[in-house]
C-alpha cells in the first residue's frame, strides 16, 4: 500500500516536471534542468525496464534522448511517465532485436571486458602505429628547427623537441623531466608545453591530414 502511494507521488512529480519543462523554451536553463530531473528520478526509481542484452544501453540512450527532445509527446491522460518511458524503451528494444535478427549477425557481440583486454594488448605484441612512427620521426628531425626554437627563456636546451620526445610514449613524468634539467618546479615546462609545443604538434597533425585519416580508418 505504501509502495503504491509513493508510486503515485513519483508519477505525479514526474508529470509535473514534464509539464513544466514543456512550458519553457527549448535550450532554456529551466527546461534542461527539469528534463534532467526527470531522467534522474526515473533512473533512481528502480522502475526502469532492464534487459541483459548487448544493445540495451544503446536503446536506453535513444530513449533518454527521445524523452528530452520530445517531452510534448507525453500524454498524461494515457499513462504515467514511467509507463510512457518503459513502453518506448521496450518497443525500441523489440525493433532492435528484430533488426539484428534480420541482418543475421554472425559477429560475436562486442562484450569488451576492460580489465581482461588490457592483458591482451601488451606493448610487445603491438607494431608501432604509422602515425606514431611518423610523428616521432618529425620530432627527431625537426628539419625547420621550429621545435628547438621554442624553448624556456634563457635555456635553449629545454625546448619543445626535448619535451615532446620525453612525453610521447613511453612517457617520462613531468617531475622526472624537471629533475633531469634541475628545475625547481614543473610549472615552466608544462606551460611551455601546452602554450607552444602542442600548437606546433597540432599544426603538424593538420598538415599531415591525421585527423581525416583517423576517421577514415575507424573500425
Amino acid at each position: 500500500m505504501v509502495n503504491e502511494r509513493t508510486n503515485d507521488n513519483l508519477d505525479q512529480q514526474l508529470s509535473q516536471l514534464i509539464v513544466e519543462a514543456c512550458s519553457f523554451p527549448s535550450k532554456s536553463f529551466e527546461r534542461r534542468q527539469r528534463l534532467t530531473q526527470v531522467v534522474q528520478l526515473v533512473q533512481h526509481s528502480g522502475k526502469l525496464w532492464y534487459e541483459n542484452t548487448p544493445f540495451y544501453e544503446e536503446v536506453l540512450q535513444k530513449t533518454w534522448l527521445h524523452v528530452c527532445r520530445n517531452p510534448e509527446a507525453y500524454d498524461s491522460s494515457r499513462a504515467g511517465v514511467i509507463t510512457w518511458i518503459n513502453n518506448y524503451l521496450r518497443f525500441r528494444l523489440k525493433d532492435k532485436r528484430r533488426d539484428l535478427w534480420q541482418e543475421q549477425q554472425h559477429r560475436v557481440s562486442t562484450n569488451i571486458n576492460l580489465e581482461d583486454d588490457l592483458i591482451e594488448l601488451l606493448p610487445a605484441s603491438q607494431p608501432i602505429p604509422p602515425i606514431l612512427e611518423e610523428t616521432l620521426q618529425w620530432i627527431e628531425q625537426d628539419s625547420d628547427g621550429e621545435l628547438r626554437g621554442a624553448h624556456l627563456r634563457g635555456c635553449p636546451e629545454i625546448n619543445c623537441q626535448i619535451l615532446l620526445q620525453r612525453r610521447f610514449p613511453p612517457e617520462v613524468s613531468w617531475e622526472a623531466i624537471a629533475e633531469e634539467f634541475n628545475l625547481k618546479s614543473t610549472a615552466g615546462i608544462t606551460a611551455l608545453y601546452h602554450r607552444k609545443c602542442l600548437p606546433i604538434l597540432r599544426q603538424f597533425g593538420q598538415q599531415q591530414g591525421y585527423l581525416e585519416n583517423d576517421q577514415k580508418t575507424g573500425k
Partner: protein, 324 residues
C-alpha cells in the same frame, strides 16, 4: 520536491558504440598505462557528450583535443569542445579514492570541469559534479565539486551576448550578418505599404531600411516574420527610427498576439505593441535615439522571444587587441 540528492549525480548508460570508440583510440597506444588512460578518458568525454546532446547543447567531438590522435600521444587529454564556450574538461573519477587528478600540462583554455564516475563493468557512468575552479596538477575530491547541473547554469549565464547592430553603419550601407535589403524579404505590395508609414518625406531620401527574417516557431512548426528597422539622420543629429514587423513573403497577416517591444539599454520595457487577428503589419511609434542610448527590439510569440540589440553610437576606431 526532490527526494533525490542532486549531489548523487546522473547515471547514463555506456553503450557498445562508446566502448568501441574508446577501444579504437586506445589500440593506437603502445603502453598499458596509456591504453587504460585513453579508455577512461574517452568514455568520460562520450558520457558528457551524450548528456549535452540530450540537453540540446551543441558539442563538437571532432574539434576536441581528445579526438586528436597526436594529442592523445602527447598528453593525458580528456576534453569536449562546446562551441560558444570553449573546452570542457571531462575527468574520470578514481573509484578507489573518489578523486580526479588533473595533468600538470592541462591547457588554460578549459572553462569548466565535469567529474565522471565510470562503472564500466555495469555499463554505467555517473556525471558526478562540475567546477570552474581547478588548477593543472591538482587533485580534486568529489566533495569539492558542485552539483553537475551547475554546468547548465554556467551555459545559460555565459552565453555569448548577441552583437550590437550599429545603425550608423546601416546608414553607410553596411549590412550585418542576417540582415538584408528589405526588397529581399518583402513582396512589392508589402514593401509599398511599409514605406508609406516610414516617416516624414523630409527624411525619406536619407532613410535606409534593412530587414531580418526571424523564426518564432516551436512545436507548431516554422512561424517566420520579417523585422524591419529604418534609421534616418534627423536635423538635430539624432537618428529617427521606425521599426515594423511584417509577415513573411506570401503571408497576408501576422500571427495573432505577436508582441513587438522596445527595450531600453537596461532591459526596461519602453513601448509594446501587440498584433490582432488581421494585421498586415505592426509598428512601434516613431522614436529618436542618440549616441548614448543603445536599445533592444524584442519580438515574441507565445513563449518564444528574439531580441535584437542596436546602437546609435557613431563609429570609433577600434584597435583589436590580438595576443601573440
Amino acid at each position: 520536491m526532490q527526494n533525490l540528492k542532486t549531489s548523487e549525480g546522473l547515471v547514463l548508460p555506456i553503450t557498445q558504440e562508446m566502448l568501441q570508440k574508446a577501444e579504437q583510440f586506445a589500440q593506437q597506444q603502445t603502453s598499458t598505462s596509456k591504453h587504460k588512460q585513453v579508455i577512461h578518458n574517452i568514455l568520460a568525454v562520450l558520457t558528457v557528450y551524450q548528456y549535452l546532446v540530450m540537453m540540446d547543447v551543441l558539442a563538437d567531438l571532432d574539434s576536441s583535443d581528445s579526438w586528436n590522435p597526436l594529442l592523445r600521444y602527447a598528453t593525458n587529454v580528456a576534453d569536449l569542445k562546446v562551441p560558444g564556450f570553449g573546452h570542457l574538461e571531462c575527468r574520470p573519477i578514481d573509484l578507489q579514492t573518489d578523486q580526479c587528478s588533473l595533468p600538470h600540462d592541462l591547457p588554460d583554455n578549459r572553462f569548466g570541469l565535469i567529474g565522471v564516475q565510470l562503472h564500466h563493468l555495469e555499463r554505467r557512468a555517473r556525471l558526478r559534479g562540475f567546477t570552474t575552479h581547478f588548477e593543472p596538477g591538482q587533485t580534486i575530491a568529489v566533495e569539492e565539486l558542485q552539483p553537475f547541473t551547475q554546468l547548465l547554469s554556467y551555459l545559460s549565464r555565459y552565453e555569448v551576448k548577441p552583437s550590437l547592430i550599429s545603425l550608423p553603419q546601416v546608414l553607410r550601407g553596411e549590412l550585418s550578418v542576417g540582415w538584408q535589403r528589405v526588397e529581399a524579404l518583402l513582396g512589392t505590395q508589402q514593401w509599398n505599404l511599409a514605406m508609406s508609414f516610414m516617416g516624414t518625406s523630409e527624411t525619406a531620401a536619407r532613410r535606409i531600411t534593412v530587414a531580418k527574417l526571424l523564426n518564432l516557431g516551436i512545436q507548431l512548426g516554422p512561424e517566420s516574420v520579417v523585422l524591419l528597422i529604418s534609421p534616418a539622420m534627423e536635423q538635430g543629429g539624432e537618428l529617427g527610427i521606425r521599426v515594423q514587423v511584417h509577415p513573411s513573403r506570401g503571408e497576408r497577416y501576422l500571427p495573432q498576439e505577436l508582441a513587438l517591444t522596445l527595450l531600453a539599454q537596461s532591459g526596461k520595457m519602453l513601448k509594446k505593441v501587440l498584433s490582432g487577428t488581421t494585421d498586415n503589419f505592426i509598428q512601434l511609434p516613431y522614436f529618436k535615439c542618440d549616441q548614448d542610448e543603445d536599445f533592444g527590439i524584442e519580438i515574441s510569440l507565445a513563449d518564444v522571444s528574439i531580441t535584437e540589440f542596436f546602437t546609435c553610437q557613431p563609429e570609433l576606431t577600434i584597435n583589436a587587441d590580438f595576443m601573440g
